[in-house]
């Protein structure tokens, strides 16, 4: 069965005398590498120079607070379920009266940990979150000497209360994204059905 037009028939042909001499091939190869001597190097000298990130680069996560400074996360666990790397763990707790300023929902995450060594920065947690609580940002995860240090708890993940410590995720939180998020389940099911029909029709 032919899947693409890219397949090539392998022919084991004898090399001609010139080819068997190797020297012309060697010289052309050396000419090619010599040309690279004068090309611009692609290196980015990292600590001094940094690569320009795309606007929606997926780096270290942030747990957002709402406008009043209450944590948005309700410890529903959807992100942990969505995570393909099983990097997220959390324990839920009930909000006590008087803690309304701290937590937006009645249930909140008492602990919330992401193992940055397991995380593949796919952004599925962000997709899954119904509360717009978790976002990936364009910050890089630091390097450490021990594995333990890579398990980021709430102290690192939750953004600061003060306005200057808030993490701006507006590029990721556009109207379209929010709208899409609302519709996602619906739209996803629809395409899924369409595909199903197609495959059925194809048979």
């Amino acid at each position: 069965m032919q899947l693409t037009n890219r397949s090539k028939v392998v022919v084991k042909k004898e090399m001609t005398f010139i080819e068997r001499m190797y020297l012309p091939a060697i010289f052309s190869g050396m000419f090619i590498t010599f040309k690279h001597l004068f090309k611009k190097s692609a290196t980015i000298k990292y600590p001094e120079q940094t690569r320009e990130f795309s606007k929606i680069y997926r780096g270290q996560h942030v747990l957002k607070r709402d406008e009043k400074g209450a944590e948005r996360c309700t410890a529903c666990g959807l992100c942990a379920v969505a995570c393909p790397a099983e990097a997220i763990t959390m324990t839920a707790a009930e909000r006590k009266p008087g803690e309304e300023a701290l937590y937006r929902e009645e249930k909140y995450a008492a602990t919330y940990e992401i193992n940055m060594l397991r995380c593949i920065f796919c952004g599925d947690c962000e997709e899954a979150c119904p509360k717009e609580a978790i976002f990936l940002t364009d910050r890089k995860v630091d390097s450490f000497y021990t594995r333990k240090e890579f398990i980021y708890g709430k102290s690192i993940l939750v953004e600061g209360l003060e306005s200057d410590k808030r993490v701006d995720v507006s590029v990721r939180e556009t109207k379209a994204v929010e709208e899409f998020k609302k519709q996602k389940e619906f739209a996803h099911n629809e395409t899924y059905d369409k595909n199903k029909k197609k495959t059925v029709a194809g048979h």
Binding site: I26, G29, M30, I32, T33, F34, H36, L37, K39, K40, S41, A42, T43, K45
Partner: protein
């Protein structure tokens, strides 16, 4: 032999030795830089300006690393291996004519440590001793990869030494001498041997690559198949000596190629402008060095261009192509030298 002479020789030995080490040290740096440039990278640039102190950092690293001698190895031979490699690598430098003699106060001081009249034989003897270091090291490690690397090294050495030797015989026929000093002196002006012996030169260069275990002939240490080849079990400075010996060999090979085929310390046309023999001698040294640096660059350039040979290809190339070619070269050279006699024979 006066005391003067002895002191002069000792000084010369020390200078050549330190230059060899210095060049080998900076070859490691140059190798990494050239590899980087050929691959559109920058290479080491953190230690000092342009990474110029990188070899020092490497050396410090090598010395600080833990010294591991495998329990199952033959300890004495294990230590001896890299030592022999290093020793033989350094020994070949003595017969290279680094320049014409310098005249100080009426006495001639030749810039060659030992102008023995069998220089080429000495060179070959020492070169083939070099593989003993690899073999002893590889065998003493008591590791199959090391042993395989050592076997490959020795069989490669034997195969390519034959072709190299025959191509050199042709050179000896045309020059009529086994002394390296004389070969260099004969190539004044444009009388470079590469123009007389182009095929022999090509064979010699290819064999030099094989003898120094450089890519594309680096099968004894090919990482993809043999872990590290003969130096798999080595660590710390003993590994460093093995790697270092390779660079020294490369330097010496470049010097030998330059001396045998590319005019040694001679440079065409320079005699027109410079007449003072001392200045000429020093300039000759500079020219030889330029040639050597050029060849070292060539060695590295080839390494970062060509893929490694397969083992059967290596043997085929050695036995079925290079040796017949070098014999052909020998016959052609002989025929050319006897052309008058041959023509006379047929014309009469």
């Amino acid at each position: 032999m006066t005391l003067d002479f002895l002191i002069y020789k000792i000084i010369l030995v020390l200078i050549v030795f330190s230059i060899t080490l210095l060049v080998a040290t900076y070859s490691t740096y140059a190798e990494r830089k050239i590899a980087a440039f050929l691959q559109d990278r920058i290479g080491p640039d953190r230690a000092g300006p342009f990474g110029i102190l990188q070899p020092l950092a490497d050396a410090v690293k090598m010395f600080m690393k833990e010294e591991i001698i495998p329990n199952v190895s033959n300890k004495a031979l294990f230590v001896l291996g890299p030592g022999i490699c290093m020793l033989t690598a350094c020994m070949t430098g003595v017969i290279i004519p680094w320049g014409k003699s310098i005249n100080i106060g009426g006495t001639d001081y030749p810039l060659q440590i030992a102008d023995v009249n069998i220089g080429i034989l000495y060179l070959f003897g020492v070169l083939s001793l070099g593989v003993y270091g690899i073999m002893i090291g590889g065998w003493a490690s008591n590791n199959k990869y090391s042993l395989l690397g050592a076997i490959r090294a020795s069989s490669q050495m034997i195969s390519y030494e034959v072709a190299m030797g025959i191509s050199i015989i042709a050179l000896v026929m045309t020059t009529g001498t086994l002394s390296t000093g004389e070969i260099a002196a004969q190539q004044h002006g444009w009388h470079w041997n590469v123009l007389i012996q182009p095929l022999g030169c090509l064979i010699f260069i290819i064999c030099a690559f094989a003898e120094t275990n450089r890519a594309p002939f680096d099968l004894p240490e090919c990482e993809t198949e043999l872990v590290g080849g003969y130096h798999t079990e080595y660590s710390s400075m003993k590994l460093g000596l093995f790697l270092f010996a390779e660079y020294i060999n490369m330097f010496i090979s470049s010097a030998v190629i330059a001396t045998f085929y590319f005019g040694g310390y001679n440079m065409p046309l320079i005699g027109r402008w410079v007449h003072d023999p001392n200045v000429l001698a020093i300039l000759g040294f500079v020219f030889l060095f330029m040639k050597i640096v050029g060849f070292i660059f060539f060695f590295m350039w080839v390494r970062w261009t060509l893929p490694r040979f397969r083992y059967d290809q290596l043997m085929n190339l050695g036995w079925k192509i290079l040796i017949p070619l070098s014999i052909l070269n020998l016959v052609l050279t002989g025929a050319w030298m006897m052309r008058h006699e041959i023509i006379n024979y047929f014309v009469k």
